[in-house]
Amino acid sequence: MSAILEVDDLTHDYGEVLALSGLTLEVPPGVTGLVGANGAGKTTMLRLMLGLLHPTAGSMQVLGHDPQREPLVVRSRIGYMPEGECLPKDQTAADFVSYAAQLAGIPSHEAKRRSSETLFLVGLEEERFRFLGDFSTGMQQRVKLAQAIVHDPDLLLLDEPASGLDPEGRTQMLDLIKRLSDFDVNVIVSSHVLTDIEQTCDWVVMLDAGNLLRSGPLQGFEKLGTVLVEVLEHPDSVAAAIEEKGFDVVVDGLRLVVGPGDESIEPIVIAAAANTGSGLVRMIRGSASLEDLFLNRETV
């Protein structure tokens, strides 16, 4: 299946503030995490995908359509769960979710049925006839998710979906999001909670101050950790040989920390140790969490 999101040299600014700078990436079907600190450009990215903002330069295709030229076509296939408040307090959950379905073009009788089913799915079957103003924060998050999936979208955009949930509710919400991909619903989760992304996503897009840090499969990221090397002698010579190949090396006595980098590090270390006659004692690959990678601000 082709990419659900294709971005080509995308730039967007708010006057003098550059929100996104020359982004080029592709996101495959599945569950994708959009990671970055506040101000990284995540919300701008989502608003561009919905066709609510127009890029300053570059282009974007969402589900094969340009959201700038065909915003209504794109939006009819997207479900969006905003980060902030978005619920009318004077409506019942059932009425609002049914209304959200009708806003997506579902006929009213079908919308009512799907409203009940969806609220059942998110664990609010008992509370569906209560007014939203009486709901707790956690319950409101569930209603926000329900309104986003009630019309069976092809792509779901979730902005901080686990915000306000207790640990158990958070785990259940993340599991539910993960399972949506089993039903051909593609998901893009925007979050600054990196552990949520690690639990949920197959693919990760990392943004930092409008720049793309990484875009790739989550499994591949662990290969980008550092390698701990210990030699018998001449650690500086080994370090110099490795640095010539373009990898960072930190020397600590007879130990070296090499990388981060992919699996090409290991043969280079072996060759460097052999060529300098240093005697390789051991070589261990460390894993990198998303947080490590994000804090290192390494781009690929």
């Binding site: 919905l50 806003l103 579902i106 006929p107 089913e117 664990g123 956690g138």
Partner: protein, 293 residues
């Protein structure tokens, strides 16, 4: 924190019809009508609109009853009793209160509670959203005006000496004069209340601002127009609430002399002012919401 639990009961895909932007606009329209009438809302939100509706209909029935009672005593006296134009006057206060409630309810909660982010993630444009809201407003407010007039018209027909059908046949002009007058009221009051509701974030304040704009505006404009300095008469045109009443008087006979009339302006000037006011309000509200989206 919640003690609720998510039970994963599966997810059902949907292969049925999708009505697209047209369905979205229809949904906004239906929700707008329901919101204004308090349907699907808490009981206290139903009390005010339905009380006003009942009062307006009862007022029309009382008018018919008075016609019937007076006519039984002395037929000639019936000519002195107000009919269609008088009924407009009688419940204009009721309709103004209703509009002061309905306009802010249609726009402000969506904006202040962040619901616009849900609307505009759906196949719905700003123009589609606003036209559906205007449609809902116009439908309900026009109904508030037209139902009592219909009760009066049919009631007068029933008590007419020439017979029901003859009365209706002899008064066919009512069928267009009443709707045109209602249109004038809906346009003027709708333009003002939508423009105010687009910028004020509290429904109570927007309602007060609407009533203040109409009443205080009319009073101030009338006084300034009488001041006598060059061009002062044009200030009378700022008595916005007077323009639909001038049109009503044009069709149903004068009641009082309104500020623009006193300043010497003809009825067509009121028509131009109404059209200009609506165009200005439409541009302003659209501009405001395009920025919000």
């Amino acid at each position: 924190m919640t003690d609720q639990v998510i039970y994963d009961r599966g997810y059902r895909s949907y292969d049925g019809p999708r009505l697209g932007p047209k369905g979205a606009r229809r949904a906004v329209y239906k929700d707008g009508v329901r919101r204004v009438l308090g349907l699907g809302r808490k009981a206290r939100l139903k009390i005010f609109p339905w009380s006003l509706i009942v009062i307006a209909v009862v007022a029309a029935a009382v008018f018919v009853g008075v016609h019937w009672a007076i006519g039984n005593i002395e037929e000639s006296m019936r000519q002195e009793i107000p009919t269609y134009g008088g009924l407009f006057d009688f419940y204009s206060g009721i309709s103004l209160l209703f509009i002061a409630l309905a306009g802010p309810q249609l726009l402000i909660p969506d904006r202040t509670r962040g619901v616009l982010s849900v609307y505009f993630s759906r196949p719905l444009t700003v123009d589609g959203y606003l036209t559906s809201k205007v449609g809902a407003f116009a439908t309900v407010v026009a109904a508030i005006y037209i139902v009592p007039q219909a009760v009066l018209h049919l009631g007068l027909g029933l008590i007419a000496e020439e017979g029901f059908l003859s009365y209706l046949g002899n008064n066919l002009d009512i069928l267009w004069k009443v709707p045109v007058t209602i249109l004038a009221f809906v346009l003027v009051h709708g333009a003002v209340v939508f423009a105010l509701s687009a910028v004020i974030d509290r429904t109570g304040i927007a309602a007060a601002a609407f009533l203040g704009t109409l009443f205080a505006g009319a009073a101030v404009a009338g006084r300034v127009a009488e001041a006598g300095f060059p061009g002062a008469s044009y200030f009378s045109l700022l008595a916005i609430d007077h323009h639909p009443r001038i049109i009503r008087d044009y069709f149903f006979g004068d009641t009082v002399e309104y500020a623009p009339e006193a300043a010497g302006f003809e009825v067509w000037v009121s028509v131009v002012v109404i059209v200009g006011l609506v165009a200005l309000a439409a541009w302003f509200v659209r501009f405001r919401y395009r920025r919000l989206a």
